[in-house]
């Protein structure tokens, strides 16, 4: 290897998927605890418990249920973003901000898969206009919820908003536009600054098609 190439190669991490299969989660039979490879305590959560949490919040909080669920998602997502950054830095030997964009996005996708949240695809093609779109195949709640015509993944939306706000270094909001509970094959979420989301929230609540919602957003200024 040329000395010039060797100098730059040695600075690059030599590591693959942090969240790979058997490498990521470890059960500790003596303590009864499940931990990830970063030492964070994990809990296996059956999806009927998650559905139970959603339903209980609906029953108790009524009209405020969506706000409560979004708040849960935001707290969870904010914390997750911080330990995600810590774990990746320890694994790759570089802060998250210094990793190639492709590595960071793939790590987020792998994290979703490893935690059983579904298959995430982050569409950054409209990033220049301040819009991110997240697609979630086999979403954890949406797949098992009775079809009601409503989008129900408010915790996921809150999680995505907080997680991506941490990455972006500014507050972002998230609205779900499609989902299996509303007869779509997958869940879609739009992430942008809160002021722009207020323009499309009514459209999303009324069940407007995803593409129409995106077109409405794109017709408004980014800031």
């Amino acid at each position: 290897m040329s000395s010039a190439l060797e100098a730059t190669v040695s600075d690059l991490p030599l590591a693959g998927n942090y969240f790979a299969g058997n490498d990521y989660l470890h059960a500790e039979p003596k303590s009864g605890m499940l931990r990830n490879r970063g030492g964070v305590r994990m809990v296996a959560l059956p999806d009927d418990l998650l559905a139970g949490i959603y339903n209980a919040i609906e029953e108790v909080a009524g009209a405020k249920a969506g706000d409560v669920q979004a708040a849960i998602g935001r707290r969870w997502g904010g914390g997750a973003a911080e330990y995600f950054a810590r774990e990746l830095q320890a694994f790759y030997g570089k802060p998250l901000a210094e990793l190639p964009f492709g590595v960071a996005v793939t790590a987020m996708r792998s994290a979703f898969r490893a935690h059983g949240w579904g298959i995430l695809h982050l569409d950054s093609s409209r990033y220049a206009t301040g819009i991110l779109v997240a697609e979630l195949h086999h979403p954890v709640v949406g797949s098992d919820v009775r079809r009601s015509g409503q989008k129900v993944e408010t915790i996921t939306a809150g999680y995505l908003a907080a997680f991506l706000s941490n990455w972006a270094g500014r507050e972002l909001g998230c609205v779900q536009t499609t989902g299996p509970s509303a007869d779509a094959p997958l869940s879609r979420f739009v992430i942008t600054i809160p002021q722009r989301l207020s323009l499309i929230r009514e459209l999303a609540d009324a069940g407007s098609p995803h593409d129409e919602i995106i077109a409405k957003l794109e017709s408004t200024p980014a800031e």
């Binding site: 290897m1 690059l12 693959g16 058997n22 964009f101 492709g102 792998s110 298959i119 195949h137």
Partner: protein
């Protein structure tokens, strides 16, 4: 360590291994020295193999360097990761280890970085060909299925695999 052996152990809950299962275990145990020998040959020849692949790709695809940060160094690192992980998978006789630790991840990273499946197919075919040229036949024979797996997975467009 080996997914197939783990599955076998799980299936054997509460009983002894059958004669077929014992045969599989014995065959694997007897193959370990050959696998380790092959792994040592790969390690000894790694630098020559990887340098040759990068040089070949520089000549064939000079446009790859356009608008990319440290393209050839990053390519060297990715090839090194695939070669080392393929070698580990060879020792463990576990293709799934290669898939889960590196291949699916690297395919996603490449897609997010606008590296085409066609480029990856060409690059990892070159890796396979350099290994064939530089390794003893006995070592290459064990490594080849894993390198072919790399060509197959990395050469598949990400959108076709998104729901997989």
């Amino acid at each position: 360590m080996n997914t197939r052996l783990q599955s076998m152990a799980r299936a054997a809950e509460g009983r002894y291994f059958t004669s077929d299962e014992r045969r599989v275990l014995r065959e694997y145990a007897e193959s370990v020295p050959h696998r380790l020998e092959a792994a040592e040959r790969v390690e000894q020849n790694e630098e020559g193999i990887l340098a040759a692949v990068v040089e070949e790709m520089r000549k064939r695809r000079p446009e790859f360097a356009t608008h990319r940060d440290q393209p050839w160094a990053r390519l060297y690192r990715d090839l090194q990761l695939v070669l080392r992980s393929s070698t580990q998978a060879l020792v463990c006789d576990d293709e799934r280890l290669l898939d889960e630790r590196v291949l699916y991840w690297l395919r996603s990273v490449a897609a997010a970085s606008n590296v085409s499946p066609a480029f990856l197919r060409e690059c990892y075919s070159a890796l396979r060909d350099q290994c064939r040229a530089r390794l003893p036949e006995s070592a290459f024979r064990l490594l080849a299925p894993l390198l072919e797996r790399a060509v197959e997975v990395l050469g598949q467009p990400e959108h076709q695999a998104r729901s997989a």
